[in-house]
Amino acid sequence: MLSICCPWCGWRDELEFSYGGQAHVAYPANPAELDDASWSEYIFFRDNTLGWFRERWVHTAGCRMWFNAIRHTVTNEFAAFYRPGDPVPEMPVEVVR
């Protein structure tokens, strides 16, 4: 079970949270202007990153707030937790241990 730091509540066990997939995929400003390919890209396509990944979480069984995190998809290590609208932290440099 992951240990996750909610930017509002602090460290909690994973079972209080729900996963929200890749972060910073904004709803298109004007969907009507997108062609089918671009719209499909928004709906169906997400990165499948091996390594550091920006993703969304929500503190479902806590404050119910959404936030972002940077997690390593292999080691599950977290490098940062940040609120929506906060400056986006730099990606850590990949360290092979």
């Binding site: 904004a26 709803y27 969907p31 009507a32």
Partner: protein
Amino acid sequence: MRLSSGGDIFRDRPLTISFDGRDLGGFEGDTLASILVANGVRVCARSIYAGRPRGLMSSGSEEANVFVQVVSGAGEPMVRATEIEAYDGLVTESLASKGRLLDLPDTSRYDKRFIHVETLVVGGGRSGVAAAAEAARAGGRVLLVHDRATIARGEGVESVVGMGGLTILTRTTATGLHEHGYVVAVERRTDHLAVPPETWSRQRLWNIRANEIVLATGAHERPIAFAGNDVPGVMLAASAVDYVTRFGVRPGRRAVVFGCHDGVVDAARALAEAGVEIARVVDARPWAADEVKQGTEEGSLDVRAGVVIGTASLPDGTLSGAVIQARDGSVETVACDLLAVSGGWNPALQLLTHTGGRTRWADEAAAFVPSQRPQHVRVVGKASGEFAAALRPEPLFCVDGPGSDPADIFLDLQRDATLADLRRAVAAGMRSVEHVKRFTTISTAADQGRSSSVLTVGVLCQELGVPMTEGVTTTYRPPYTPLTFALLAGRDRGYLADPERVSPIQDWHVAHGAAFEDVGQWKRPWYFPAYDGESLHDAVARECAATRSSVGMMDASTLGKIEMYGPDVGEFLDRIYTNLMSTLAVGKVRYGVMAAVDGMVLDDGTVARLSDNRWILTTTTGNAAKVLDWLEEWLQTEWPDLDVRCTSVTEHWATVAVVGPRSREVVAAIAPGLDVSNEAFGFMEWRDAMVGDCAARVMRISFSGELAFEVNVDGWRGQALWEVIYEAGQPYGITPYGTETMHVLRAEKGYPIMGQDTDGTVIPQDLGMSWVVSKKKPDFVGKRSYSRADAAREGRKQLVGLIPSDGSSPLMEGAQLVETGVDLTRVPVPMVGHVTSAYDSVSLGSPFALALLADGANRHGEELQAVDELVGTRVRVTSPVPYDPEGARRDGN
């Protein structure tokens, strides 16, 4: 045989256990295994497939042969004899590697504990105790878990019992190491007791979160495979010594000791000191020489360079001799009843690899050692592999001697898998140990390859002619030792397995004999039998008829309700619902559908505007939490500029639906101040009213097509409201009904249940609801998807009604729709749709169904067959609104 002295046993506390009906004597401190050794029981099990006699091959958790069924106490289907602490009255039965599950519920109590520590030390041997002492001295909370009854003590070991900050859990096995310092451990509290204290739980599941984890898990001795290596009497060398030193029992009279490192001579000496005659020490290392080594007072040790290539056995299958091939190729058989074997050591790194740790083969240690450690994990002692180099090991995995049958060379004793099996896998083209594992089943038994896994990697590399450094072990996964499901459930069993939600009117329903059904976590009245034994079918027919002809009432309190507040609610709902909501006037109610971004229907419900800034919306009973999540996600992540607050008020309101042509009279009677006329109180409007002294919100909403009022009051007043309505409805024969009648009534009107009549492929247009999809709004969630080619194409599956052509055959939910004339025996049978809801209807005088049918909107009037269990029933396609299609009943009569 029991020695006259020695061992960590209490010789003044004798006890008797039963094994396969035989009473055997032992002492407190014994394991079942040491009692078997003490009593000379050499054949203790049969192998799983070949039925070969098997004996103890170890003294610890690597035991692969002797698993038993524990019959006494709480009972347990399959436990290693080496891990059962004996108590007076223990009853066990031997197994062929397969236990029997009892078909009785486990009545033992299981608990869970949660603990946070700075340092967790796994393993209470010398290294673990030292690590725990060091961490405790540094300050902070330290937890030491050890899978045996006592931690290491004695000469050279610091006494840590009672040390500040240190908690010691014995008889506790760490079974999984997970991310971020999370470790699961099981503490066995009562299995070793003849009479456990009444108040004790049998086991505890420890959920441990640690900043630092020290693995002091030790190492398991590695066997060497050779022909007949499964014969009772062949035992790991260190285990043979362990029986002498821990239990004061002698596993044999005359031994051959065979190995490939310096440690075998030490093992031979220890056995000799216990009075075991050492017939021969066989050293397989290429530089080994024939020599006579200093032994003990009993005599010197005859060490020869060579290998064991086979065994001889007595008629009962037990060991009678070791076949030894000397360096010069000569072969002789040396009589012995114990063949102590050591192929070196495997650091116990299962936990390390549970969460991303890696191992690599180290030639100098002849072992897989840690190469990549997860965050905050440290490995000490034998588990780190550092000890092994001092033993000058030369790896030897398998001796395929002259004349040996590879089918007699066992790699996995518990799976009866041999060198012949492995060669078959290689011949079939397999190179990866993961493939070989799946082909041969090696290391898939209860011991998860503790003794066989590395052995197999070694033999595989040998067969493929590649160096060991190219070998990798199979992936170890939690749990390290089997856990019972009852332990994982803890106290959350039976009634406590899942929260149970009930409406505020539940007591009345129970008192009036309602039959219940589960809707998510809710208990909802299913139907109300009018007399003992009234069937579902009869009750529903009666409830439907009463409601359509006079008046019925239903508890709708479980409907999801979300109150929304803020100046931007209208704007927000316009973006979330497919239809326009912002234009809704105060006092009005509107039906709405929500879609996902892909345009598929998510949920439906009603929206009522309570004031300029206050709104309340309803959701499907099972979808309430999902819809609230959905709303909050959009508000927080996409449109934080909108001033909107959402609050779940499902439990705050009790809702009673009063349904049917006489509902107006009933509502008028309970709320005399409310003008219930069509003119004053129209369809899809809401009004405040007083029911007695209780404030109520009354809505004219219908989920049946009938004139209907939904009366909402404070949840605490729900049952009082129900009783008032029930009383006022008596002159009209008011009939309480449950979910089944509700379903029949709504289906007769073609109202879909989202999630039953829809799945993730249905858009509102497929339900005949193009009217609910706004053309005016510039955008809403899902809108863009309706102009995708797939949404606009002809022939999509659409909601239709079905009536059996004979007017009487029942239809089944889930039945597939097939064109008439199609031969159902010729597969694949082309299918054009499926039944989503099916009921018997008194109003229609026939069974009927709703279905999703390809191009269904254009096929009304045609015939198809609805196929269930290969039997086709002729059906006629109708509009999805088989009853009252013109909506004449909405305003009553």
